[in-house]
């Protein structure tokens, strides 16, 4: 039986593979063979270390030495020095850019402090269907502490001092919201959890509900204690069946333990939680529409004031917070406001969960302290752009946000910076786009979504967005005029100023921000009738380069509309009038002879 004593872990992430990590593995293997260590040392490929700018990364096990920028030519030295002589190869260690110190253990490297999990603390650690595991990780201690050792005012003060702001997108100070709800006098109050996550590409709330449902129940009960509510309602879309199932199990278990129900922790505080289902309308993430939907009415927004904190569900004071906001509450009470407010930027405290998606290598769920830059998120944790393409833009805030470009990459992410840059924090979707994405098509995609999701109550949103969509459509099929750009801008601004709720007020953001940052692209569409990224089908044409074409007939055979003609061994020709621009021919051509204009 072989018993390996040492392992060399080589990063097999896309970034490192692009910088020769596969060759490195081979070189390491032959160096090991040369030293006769093949029975003792094993070389392994791992997932991405996330530190791609310093790649290829090598980690030695069991001593956890971390080598950076290791190339095939370094393999010999690592094997001879590290494994045979037991000496670290100093020149391959990571150097702290500030102190110039060599660091050999990744645990001490700043990079690995970039992701810090507060809201996601239990996701992927505990079994979400077993309350005991949540309790083992300090679950419900904060609720117990609040109920038995603190007054509601003290708890609210703690939340206010922590600087926590709403994670659903708006960024309203959470403690202040609780205080307003507390101060309103009423017989019945409600606590609501907004789990109606609807942005395309966002899955933060679902992951928290599926991975750590008890943290939400605990926080809602704490909220009930502070605001004077004894009823909690979770508004969740029915498209999240697993999250619903786990919430149901969690509510049942917490009730059995007496952590929900009457006289919790032997006090006179009672609190129960029910689930309400939404049908998946985007507008129901807006709190007034959400409340109407819960009441069994149409999911339509109403104007504020009165705010739900004053007059909400069934006309009673209702405190609505988002899932991620709640997930932070138990930790704040446990570790203190001071600890929480030491993380983040001046006006945005704590961390933010992002669902990283689009053209990025490591699609995933991440949590970073506020103030982390977009570059660190996309090129560090995200591992850079797929297929070595060029970064073009990133959309934050989903259909309500805007796109940010190369010049924003070093912007520290927080509520105010993103707003100032023409986007917004939103709930945390982050969609990365590369050089192949057409920004006009992207803004049309988001507008198609908002037009579909508009509740239709107010004219600016119902009619205005439809007109925006029509203009964009015109531009993408080559029928746009230069005047259309001005029209888009004016109309967009009017909708922003006059729409009733958050959905309408933010829906022109993608159009306005892409027009600001990518005006050239819009001009190319309306003036030259060209799509520089070759995405808008009506604006592109396929041609065959007669010098490269060998007449192999593959394209002619694959073309679904038979618009390619030509004799064997003679250059073929595409009938551009018949061509439907499906791209099948370009995919199959072995000689790179087909091109797009």
């Amino acid at each position: 039986m072989t018993t390996f004593t040492d392992y060399i872990l080589v990063c097999g992430g896309t970034g490192c593979r692009a910088s020769q990590s596969e060759q490195l593995i081979n070189s390491l293997k032959s160096a090991i063979l040369q030293q006769g260590l093949q029975e003792k040392v094993q070389v392994l490929r791992t997932g991405c270390f996330g530190f791609c700018e310093q790649g290829p990364i090598v980690k030695m096990v069991p001593d956890n030495t971390f080598y950076v920028q290791v190339y095939p030519s370094d393999a010999d030295e690592i094997v001879r020095e590290h494994l045979v002589k037991g000496r670290k190869v100093a020149r391959l260690l990571y150097t702290n850019p500030e102190t110039k110190e060599h660091i050999s253990d990744s645990k001490h490297m700043d990079f690995y402090k970039k992701q810090y999990r507060i809201a996601l603390r239990n996701c992927g650690f505990i079994n979400p269907e077993n309350i005991d595991e949540y309790i083992a990780r300090d679950g419900y201690v904060s609720l117990g502490k609040a109920l038995t050792e603190m007054t509601p005012e003290e708890v609210i003060q703690e939340i206010k001092d922590s600087g926590l702001r709403g994670r659903g997108g708006g960024g309203f100070p959470t403690g202040m919201k609780w205080e307003i709800t507390r101060k309103v006098v009423a017989d019945q109050k409600y606590v609501v959890c907004n789990a109606d996550e609807g942005d395309p590409g966002a899955f933060m709330d679902r992951s928290i509900l599926e991975g750590d449902p008890h943290s939400i129940l605990e926080a809602m009960a704490i909220n009930g204690y502070c605001t004077g509510a004894d009823k909690g309602l979770i508004y969740i879309r029915a498209e999240y069946p697993l999250a619903v199932e786990r919430l149901k199990i969690a509510i049942k278990q917490a009730t059995e333990y007496g952590l929900l129900g009457d006289n919790i922790f032997g006090t006179d505080f009672s609190f129960s939680i029910e689930i309400r289902y939404g049908a998946g309308a985007f507008v129901c993430g807006e709190e007034t529409a959400l409340i109407h939907s819960m009441e069994g009415q149409r999911g339509e927004a109403t104007s504020k004031p009165p705010f739900p904190s004053e007059q909400g569900y069934k006309g009673q004071p209702t405190n609505v917070n988002n899932v991620e906001t709640y997930a932070n509450i138990p930790v704040i009470l446990q570790k203190g406001a001071k600890w929480f407010s030491s993380i983040g930027t001046e006006r945005s405290k704590g961390t933010k969960v992002f669902a990283l998606a689009g053209k990025v290598n490591n699609v995933g769920l991440i949590e970073v302290p506020m103030g982390t830059t977009l570059r660190e998120v996309i090129f560090g944790i995200g591992g850079g752009i797929k297929d070595g393409k060029k970064f073009k833009a990133v959309q934050t805030g989903g259909p309500s946000g805007g796109c940010l470009t190369e010049k924003h990459l070093d912007l520290p992410i927080d509520y105010d910076n993103l707003l100032a840059a023409g986007s917004m924090m939103g709930s945390g979707g982050m969609i990365v786009m590369d050089e192949d994405d057409c920004m006009v098509a992207v803004s049309k995609f988001y507008l198609d979504f908002t037009v579909e999701e508009s509740c239709g109550k107010c004219t600016p949103c119902r009619v205005g967005n439809k007109r925006l969509q029509e203009i964009l459509h015109r531009i993408t099929i080559g029928k746009g005029e230069v005047e259309d750009l001005e029209l888009l801008k004016n109309l967009g601004n009017v909708i922003k100023d006059t729409a009733l709720c958050g959905l309408g007020q933010t829906s022109p953001n993608p159009v306005l921000s892409t027009m600001e940052h990518f005006r050239d692209e819009y001009l190319a569409h309306v003036v030259d009738k060209k799509c520089p990224s070759h995405q808008c089908r009506k604006l592109i044409h396929y041609y065959i380069n007669a010098e490269k074409c060998r007449g192999c007939t593959v394209c002619a055979r694959i073309c679904p509309v038979h618009c390619i003609t030509g004799e064997r061994k003679i250059p073929h020709v595409i009938d551009t009038l018949e061509c439907i621009r499906c791209g099948s021919c370009i995919e199959k051509c072995k000689f790179d002879a087909i091109y797009i204009i």
């Binding site: 650690f125 201690v141 117990g144």
Partner: protein, 132 residues
């Protein structure tokens, strides 16, 4: 089931549960429990986590290996689903990604039975807030 009446009750329970888990994880006796946590959020399940979990359970049963296979939430490595964390007694937990039935066989034969590491370890790239 006993209801939790006071904060002390809760703290006592916490200590008991923690001790259980510690015993499982930190004990140095190889006959102690092997733990396998499968990432089972919607996205994991969509990528086949349920089949992987079933395969783990069946194969471990067939081979008469005593192990605790449980589900957990999203670990965040969406690009490498299905993922699972394997905790061998006395060892640091390790996460493996891109699981297939063949990979599970390899994990059981190599890592679980002999402690030999295999390809596909997912490096942990974050810190999490620690319990009290």
């Amino acid at each position: 089931m006993n209801k939790i009446k006071t904060l002390d009750d809760l703290r006592k329970m916490r200590e008991a549960f923690k001790a259980d888990i510690d015993l499982r994880e930190k004990s140095n006796h190889p006959e102690q429990m092997i733990q396998i946590k499968i990432s089972m959020a919607t996205c994991g399940i969509a990528s086949g986590a349920k089949e992987i979990m079933n395969y783990f359970v069946q194969t471990l049963n067939k081979r008469q290996i005593d192990a605790l296979v449980t589900q957990t939430g999203c670990m965040g490595y969406c690009y490498a689903e299905p993922t699972a964390e394997i905790i061998l007694p006395g060892k640091e937990p390790l996460v493996f990604g891109y699981l297939t039935e063949e990979k599970v066989d390899e994990l059981i034969n190599q890592y679980i039975q002999q402690g030999i590491l295999v390809d596909g370890i997912m490096p942990i790239t974050y810190n999490a807030v620690n319990p009290e």
